[in-house]
């Protein structure tokens, strides 16, 4: 086995604008919350080290812009994600309805090898507010229909469930990451094709010895 000490997980956070993606991330990484709203431009990146089942894992968190005008990040942005976090605002039915779109968008852009079992985690944020509009049951139902995605109700403001949610995110991503067979078999032997080496060299006038 190769060294198991270094693990880095790419986690992408998606959801409508102002559902609290950046706030969740800040609460998780920096233990901070601010009521001020500041639109994410393009993308933000945060890094956090966590222990998951005796392994030190580095979470590379890719926070994205919810606002459409800041969104064109390109296909490459989503490539190779280990986990995708879908966030909605429990006081905003519209943001909940958008989850399907975000999920599809991710699957199309990232095109993971096994889309049916790709680890998504769903977060219903802002449970500290009183004007709740999306019930727990409705959200859980949606997750159930998508192959039983883990669902957490969170408050970035009150730091409710944030730690637990990200722990699950890390664990599920790790499960995805670690089942790698190692590629230690040698590639095929080089064939000496006789005389074709003149074309083999790429360096133009760079002469050979």
């Amino acid at each position: 086995m190769a060294t198991r000490k270094k693990v880095l997980l790419k986690v992408i956070i998606l959801g409508d604008s102002s559902v609290g993606k950046t706030s969740l991330m800040n609460q998780y990484v920096n233990k901070k919350f601010t009521n001020q709203y500041k639109a994410t431009i393009g993308a933000d990146f945060l890094t956090k080290e966590v222990m998951v089942d005796d392994r030190i894992v580095t979470m590379q968190i890719w926070d994205t812009a919810g606002q459409e005008r800041f969104q064109s990040l390109g296909v490459a942005f989503y490539r190779g994600a280990d986990c995708c976090v879908l966030v909605f605002d429990v006081t905003s039915p519209g943001s909940f309805k958008s989850l399907d779109g975000w999920r599809d968008e991710f699957l199309i852009q990232a095109s993971p090898s096994d889309p049916d079992h790709f680890p998504f985690v769903v977060l219903g944020n802002k449970v500290d507010l009183e004007n709740r509009a999306v019930s727990s049951k409705r959200a859980q139902q949606w997750c159930q229909n998508k192959n039983g995605l883990p669902y957490f109700e969170t408050s970035a403001k009150e730091a409710i469930n944030v730690e637990q949610a990200f722990k699950t995110i890390a664990r599920n991503a790790l499960a995805q990451e670690s089942d790698v067979e190692l590629y230690n078999e040698f590639p095929d032997q080089i064939k000496l094709s006789g005389g074709s080496t003149e074309n083999r060299s790429s360096g133009g006038d760079n002469c050979a010895c």
Partner: protein, 469 residues
């Protein structure tokens, strides 16, 4: 466009995407694109969120202490290598690099370089990996790009291109560090080599100076043994940074960049000195699809020259081990070991012997052999810093001389602390460093005189006989 850059006239700025970047802290990065209309961003820097960025600031202070960085990441944005600092802690920065590549790709464009102030950032996309160089050393774009290609080649040399592609084809999220552990050190050393060695600038190798009849005898000894072995492709004898001898299979030749990788491997691996080794190595320019197998050993306790025998056959260890034993025995009998030791100990040929007024230092390259001679540094270049400055001067001069499409023959430049001359003929490239205030006429005479002198010395400075079997 980039204006005041020292080397800007040499660069094809037009082909670079011109993006200036405003960084308040790593969490709040706004990208302002001036010319290209594909904005992912608004043109206002965000207020920095004070406390949370403290740890990042420390991290970036560390990085700022160095004026040259190389980063390697996967096309998923996962870190693979950083020259300085810990790549885990820099994970956010790697994400940003990928984001920059990604937005430009999305508009069917390729991000090649970013200039901001004295800092030049160069991107090379070798899907499935991306290499990024950040330099504040006023290096030409081509130079940084070439360094990145060297680092890329080093990664290929440990994995092969076939395997690299296969790994990422199946899983784009693969953490390549798992297969790279141990080779980071080789990359560190290789980058240092690209910064200090004239061979990198000139695309050439340096030969161990020795009488040509001794060299021929050594080469013949190696050739005799090697020619008997099926599937043996190359044999090299190396003394530190210098090549003593090369033999090769008919129709196959070794490219300079591959030799540089071999030299780097040998000079970075102490354990080769104590045990004969058998190691797979992919030579990317020769064939990036598979491994060559290298038998690596120093000739004897009392002769520290390293013999490298390269074959395509992974079962050939014992055959090559036996061949090496015979080569050493024979060399001992016909005094070749002694000749090598003498050559290693001997004071290298000094430029002072040419007795040319005002000439301080030079690089002399034989073009069709891809070999160069770099005389020892003497006053006033007696410290590392001064030597590095001189190398930067050469780097710029070489870059100007070889700029695609220009076809220059002579460059004469008076700088503040030296006068430099580049001189090219069909056979030779000369890069000379004179005292300041040396006239053109004086420099021209020096070239003539030097050329005559070199005719007498070149037999011992270069390898003219690379036989085939």
């Amino acid at each position: 466009m980039i204006s005041s850059e020292e080397y800007s006239e040499n660069m094809e700025e037009a082909q670079e995407t011109d993006i200036s970047i405003l960084v308040s802290d790593v969490n709040n990065i706004a990208i302002e694109e001036s010319e290209v209309n594909k904005s992912i961003s608004e043109n206002k820097p965000l207020p920095s969120s004070s406390e949370q960025s403290n740890s990042y600031e420390n991290l970036f202070d560390q990085l700022k202490g160095h004026n040259k960085h190389i980063f390697v990441l996967s096309t998923a944005g996962k870190p693979i290598y950083t020259r300085f600092g810990n790549e885990n802690q820099l994970a956010s920065l790697f994400g940003l690099m990928l984001a920059l590549m990604s937005v430009t790709q999305d508009s069917n464009d390729t991000l090649q370089s970013i200039c901001c102030g004295r800092t030049r950032i160069v991107f090379v996309n070798k899907d499935p990996i991306i290499l990024v160089g950040v330099s504040q050393r006023s290096e030409p774009y081509d130079q940084i790009k070439k360094q990145l290609i060297y680092v890329y080649n080093n990664i290929i040399s440990t994995l092969t291109l076939t395997q690299l592609k296969k790994i990422f084809l199946n899983r784009t999220n693969f953490d390549l560090r798992r297969l790279m552990s141990g080779s980071e050190r080789l990359i560190d050393k290789l980058i240092t080599f690209t910064e200090n060695d004239p061979g990198f600038l000139l695309d050439s190798i340096s030969c161990l100076q020795m009488p040509s009849n001794s060299r021929d005898k050594i080469t013949q000894t190696i050739l005799t043994e090697c020619s008997k072995i099926k599937n043996l492709v190359f044999g090299l004898l190396i003394a530190q940074k210098h090549i003593i001898s090369i033999v090769r299979m008919k129709k196959y030749s070794l490219q300079v960049s591959d030799i540089h990788l071999i030299l780097n491997l040998i000079n970075s691996t102490e354990s080769f000195k104590t045990a004969e080794s058998w190691t797979p190595i992919c030579l990317p320019t020769f064939d990036s699809s598979g491994y060559m197998h290298a038998h690596i050993s120093y000739l004897a306790e009392d002769c520290q020259a390293c013999l490298v025998l390269l074959t395509i056959d992974h079962d050939l260890f014992f055959t090559l081990s036996e061949a090496k034993r015979k080569i050493t025995e024979k060399m001992r009998r016909n005094d070749c070991l002694q000749a090598i030791n003498d050559a290693i100990i001997r004071q290298p040929l000094s430029l002072a012997r040419a007795n040319i007024l005002g000439l301080r230092h030079l690089l002399y390259k034989i073009k069709n052999r891809s070999q160069h001679w770099c005389p020892p540094f003497t006053l006033p270049y007696n410290t590392d810093t001064l030597q590095q400055n001189l190398m930067s001067v050469y780097c710029s001069l070489i870059s100007q001389m070889n700029f695609p499409g220009r076809n220059l023959k002579v460059i004469y430049q008076q700088l503040t602390s030296e006068t430099i001359v580049a001189w090219a003929t069909d056979e030779v490239e000369l890069y000379m460093c004179f005292e300041p205030m040396v006239s053109k006429e004086c420099a021209t005479n020096a070239v003539t005189k030097l050329t005559q002198w070199m005719k007498k010395e070149e037999d011992s400075l270069f390898i003219f006989n690379i036989p085939m079997f």
